[in-house]
Symmetry: D2
Subunit: 436 residues, 4 copies
């Protein structure tokens, strides 16, 4: 029995690349084997609750455009919303979903009512998960929408907001744990500042470090086995956000002794806003040992805000998966669509087609990335380019067995005068184009 929201759509089949059916997969074929693993197990798709089931289509200059039967803040509506959501997860063959507390429960008058409401919905989700087999990729707390968080959650000048935030995180971690979530995510949309004029950077850093330590301590206390993930973003809504990008979060983790406890949830759109390519963020996190999961939604390169669009450029997505696969692929992480429809895409079909298109783009990207790795040309090129560092004298320098003046003496004595070698960027870009 369905909710009727998707009318007569009861299945989105895989029909192969030649299909012109807008409600069929052309590339995402969950059981297809890529590099020895099922495509579903590589991609670990998750569908998000907030953009799909909560956002009314407003933007800074306009109001609601979507008309959904569950748009009122009652428990009944929350359950109808859950019914439609799980129906959609199944239609999309999406093995996972993600949510914030605020997405799924009615807003209560206080913390206690919030908690009761959340717990009631968690019960309902637990049933839904059991019925459908859909799993929770990650849970998180919305610590940015309510006015009380306007000046920050953990970094609020008011310690009561810190406390309220901590309490809210605890309930969300409990909910995630109970639902078997594979990760718990923190996105600090209000952890930052609007103006330095009213801000004490050092104090806020201390607060934020403490909160993340609280989270990690509590994770161990309750035996949550999932990963704790931080999602960086440089700005928006806040003028400056502390979790600016991977490199910044790494420094924060080191400062607070958390670099072995916390990993990154990386979003293409946030990478772009920080001036990076998505693959840069993935490769950086991987090199630093803190790669976790991705939000595979793109920003328009030419809009200065977070457009959270579904991915649609296969060559770009392929490079992202190339670096994910080189990092060993996902463990607890996955491919979440923190993506929203354009506000003019009003219909239930739009929601399905957007996901189908995004999932197909990811599937193509994954297959291309796997082919690049199996081909090996690119990897070999890099190995060869740095081969000189395998020589004994180079290793001696690298391992700290030569001092600056010893190296200088050697350069002077040998008249060493290195000649540049081509970096072959265009060749390598052409190689990529053989696969995408």
């Amino acid at each position: 029995m369905t909710t009727g929201f998707f009318r007569d759509i009861t299945e989105i089949p895989y029909e192969g690349a030649d299909s012109t059916n807008p409600l069929a997969f052309r590339h995402y074929n969950p059981d297809e084997i890529v590099m020895g693993k099922r495509m579903e197990d590589h991609l670990r798709f998750a569908t998000c609750y907030w953009h799909n089931f909560v956002w009314p289509g407003n933007d800074p200059f306009g109001g609601q455009t979507f008309d959904r039967p569950w748009f009122n803040d009652t428990m009944e509506a929350a359950k109808l919303k859950a019914d439609v959501a799980f129906e959609m997860f199944q239609l999309l063959k999406s093995p996972y979903y993600c949510f914030h507390d605020l997405d799924v429960r009615p807003e209560g008058a206080d913390f206690a009512e919030n908690t009761r409401n959340l717990n009631e919905i968690v019960d309902y989700f637990a049933e839904k998960q059991a019925q459908t087999g859909v799993k929770l990729l990650w849970g998180t707390a919305n610590l940015f929408s309510n006015a009380k968080y306007m000046s920050g959650a953990s970094t609020n000048p008011d310690p009561d907001v810190f406390a309220f935030s901590a309490a809210t995180i605890k309930t969300c971690m409990d909910a995630t744990h109970r639902l078997g979530g594979e990760n718990y995510v923190l996105w600090g949309g209000r952890e930052g500042y609007e103006t330095l004029l009213n801000t004490d950077l050092g104090q806020e850093d201390q607060q934020m470090g403490r909160m993340l330590n609280l989270v990690v301590e509590y994770k161990h206390k309750i035996g949550f086995k999932g990963a704790i993930l931080v999602e960086p973003k440089p700005q928006e809504p806040t003028k400056h956000q502390y979790d600016y990008d991977t490199a910044t979060v790494y420094g924060f983790l080191k400062r607070h002794g958390l670099e072995n406890e916390v990993k990154m949830n990386l979003e293409q759109g946030h990478a772009i806003l920080a001036g990076h390519s998505f693959e840069h963020e993935i490769a950086t996190a991987s090199a630093l040992g803190i790669f976790g999961s991705v939000d595979m939604n793109r920003n328009d390169y030419q809009s200065g805000w977070d457009t959270d669009q579904f991915p649609n450029n296969v060559p770009e997505v392929a490079l992202a998966y190339y670096h994910i696969l080189k990092a060993g692929g996902f463990t607890t992480g996955g491919t979440n669509f923190d993506a929203k429809l354009r506000r003019q895409s009003l219909d239930a079909e739009d929601m399905l087609m957007a996901h189908v298109g995004g999932m197909d783009v990811c599937a193509r990207g994954l297959k291309a990335a796997a082919a690049m790795i199996e081909d090996g040309t690119m990897d070999q090129f890099v190995t060869d380019r740095y081969a000189g560092w395998q020589q004994p004298e180079a290793q001696a320098m690298l391992q700290g067995k030569r001092s600056l003046d010893e190296i200088a003496a050697h350069v002077e004595a040998t008249g060493l005068n290195p000649k540049p070698r081509s970096g072959r960027q265009e060749y390598l870009e052409n190689v990529v184009n053989r696969f995408v």
Copy 2:
């Protein structure tokens, strides 16, 4: 006896705010006391060698526009250049200067000749310094202009380039030490990548960490008392530079055990390119304990490249000095103008007027910043805003004496429901405008 380059200009007097003389200071009055210290000792101005005496006025679409008598790569020309340079430092009452090796010596055929040439010029500079009283704020090595550095200096795939770079740094540290330089700077203009396709991030990180450790070790070995400074920049010339911004460099320093050995040389233009305000970078470095020195040249906010213009906006410069003064002011650092004329500003007078204007803007900014601090309104506002954190329960949370579930229990038990308070941004901006 003068070089004649500045014709009949033999002094740039301080004439006060009402002067309309384009070759007089209106605000920079070295001996004027600000917050108990001479203005000169606060600002510690430095004039750079490269943009003033080396750059021919070219840009990516056009060639030389400047016509300077020392534009040929001989030792004789190098000495004429030095004569004009020190004459300008004196005219400008600039207590300091800065240089790269390549700026000051003819390019040799190999490392040995480079070193001989540099040493000959260092002798000449030593005399000049003694004659004029002008001092060296910092020296540095140019590891980015020569084709051999096209794929990086310390991060080059070729270990011979690493060695050549190390040797060059050694000679530049020696030169800086001998000239009594108060800092040694590293700007990694080519330490980064053009494309991830040919790059091993982890390997390059290891190389760069080793090089900075070599520098620090050598500093201690030779007894150099100055600071080692890293100048961050996110991109340009390189697509991505590893020293992206202060937060990124902090993470790098922590990773390589250098956070107590190395400080930051921050440039307004580079802050902008990284998506930050200049004061953000200063305040961040200060909060992290790694603030060192500044390059006080601005970028056009709307050009995507490094325009290195002289500062001209007093309100912005005042906020920079506000954070510098709050950080305790400069110790070894100073206010360097890594600034260049527009390429249409052809004349010797342009060079002088540009500096005079920039120095006056800094002097106004400093005086305004000092007044803000002496007034105390802004500081008091911040203190009051965070006052709640001084309460015992807040301190207990902050110092790790409360767990997440304890805090949650407390929130639930007390029905704690914090109310937002105004952040007063506009009020604070108005307060700033009382001083600028």
Copy 3:
């Protein structure tokens, strides 16, 4: 009798530059004479209705932060809102205000009810204007917030939306006319596209040109003597807006025969988003004969969206007024604050202080601009720089009396070889700094 919203604040006096009273003007002194004219008559300040009295403080990641007694969509609330608004206009000594229909009236079930509601409020406004002396700088129609406009108003693929928009504009023009408004503004926030894939550019251009012609025809029909103004903006909310910037709108006006009928309402924030300085837009509009009015609210240069902040940088504002004064100053136009509080600035005082600060910045900018003009150094420099064009042969070329081959023959015959002259940018920037 007051509404009580501003509690005990009954006057915002002018107290001069030394005042530290946050609710006093330090520079805006309406009767002070600048270049022979009262400051009020130069600046022609207007306070906007929407950001001050309608916006609840939401942003894309958070909801309402402001708590205002008139926040419900009834006629009674609309009148309370008007009471507070006119009280604020008086407190601020703001001679003008501006509004959209949607800001001031309850939303009706259909066009007829909208019109009735608007007319009822217009009656109320007429009384208020008579009581207070506050005048209407401009009226406008909100053709972007309601879902029906999501795909454009005049450029909607559905001609019914065009018709509905036209009807709405008519009622707003009638209202503006009746209230003695001095201008009527069109901002095409949804006139553009989200994706070219579903868009017919030529068709939409034709629609938009027709609508603007309808407006101009109706203006003449009803004898409205004010100016018709278009407010350009490149993007946000729409991915691409047709009224991108002044130069683009000029081409549109020429194409549709409207270049003598329509002028520009220029906003600093929109100039920035289009990649221009504010003074560029003013100077361009002035050179093209289409300068009208300004929205003097700034964007953060480093946020990619429209932050609509109050102006706070005197040197920038001074350059804007310099070009406005050079264009002859405002005629029907004025200085509107299309500016909003930061959403953390919760209180009634914040609203007042923000305007006071912005008005003071404008007053300082105006005085500085006037001083620059009276001084004449800058203008003379420009005149001298182009003086060669006054020579007869230069004039002959410019006026089309020489052909390309004639000029070439002349160059060859005379061996003409022009020498570059310094552009003196830094000198001129220093001159500006004598006044700001």
Copy 4:
């Protein structure tokens, strides 16, 4: 007989999509028929002279990296350069090339010598063209590199520079005409300003309008049948360039009566810098009737300067050709690569591989675009979306047969209340992905 520059490379064959030969075409097959026309005749590839044969690999922070035997400014070297260039055009099966005067001839002491040098090379080119069958897509004058143009060519404050520029354009138009060039291009890299402080916008507009009229008059005088093309760019090297983008140039053409005489040469990189997508610029020019030709080189979306990279993203290039084909395809225009190697790509092979990759990307893009057009789904969608405008009442509004008050009366009378319809953006993006 070859120059030996490309060593043993004597042919770049078409080998089909499965080839892994880096010096073979995988998609560009000149004689393959696409939509009834040879691929070569659709794409009309041109190879540029400047980036390939003149640029030494420098950037703002580094010098020469390329080592080419023709790098000296003699006539002999100019001819060797031409030999290599035509050899490369043939290797690449590039039917066209493009050049500036400065690229191909030694710089003379004065205009007369420049002209003699150019003419000598034009003779040499004429022979080369006859021997090889390679044709000239367009010629142009370099009016930006020499210091005399630093403050503009036609817009220089010095009328002698205007005259020198005019004379230079005349010789370049003559050369282009003589070589059978199919277009003549003007790129105004220095037509703009660095600072408004020294600039008279109205005067410079008049100068620039006159120059373009001179060009058009001369074209007709000599019977040149090719198109006159303007290449817009918003900034770089100049802070603001007058030919900002297509819409801006359109306004300029209208103002100077040139809209039927001049068309656009559009570059992806310049579109990006102006805040537009490439397809936006093409579709806009097409809607305005001024589409001419393209420079198919991309910018990095995240670098703020003109990186002039070879195209490598098939989905983006496909959308460009989709709009070109919808505009009727090229007439005199073509696909020029105003693209340069990365400066680390040192070798002759890099130059070939870069072009091969770019041409293959274009070929794939063209085939995809043709398939989208033949499929018709997208076009039909757009037609259906605007179908309402075909109704009589809609046409009456559009054609000016209804006044604003008549429309309002109609809306009121009928209670017209339009309902929004989905814009289907994600669906359409998915449709595109069926073809790329």
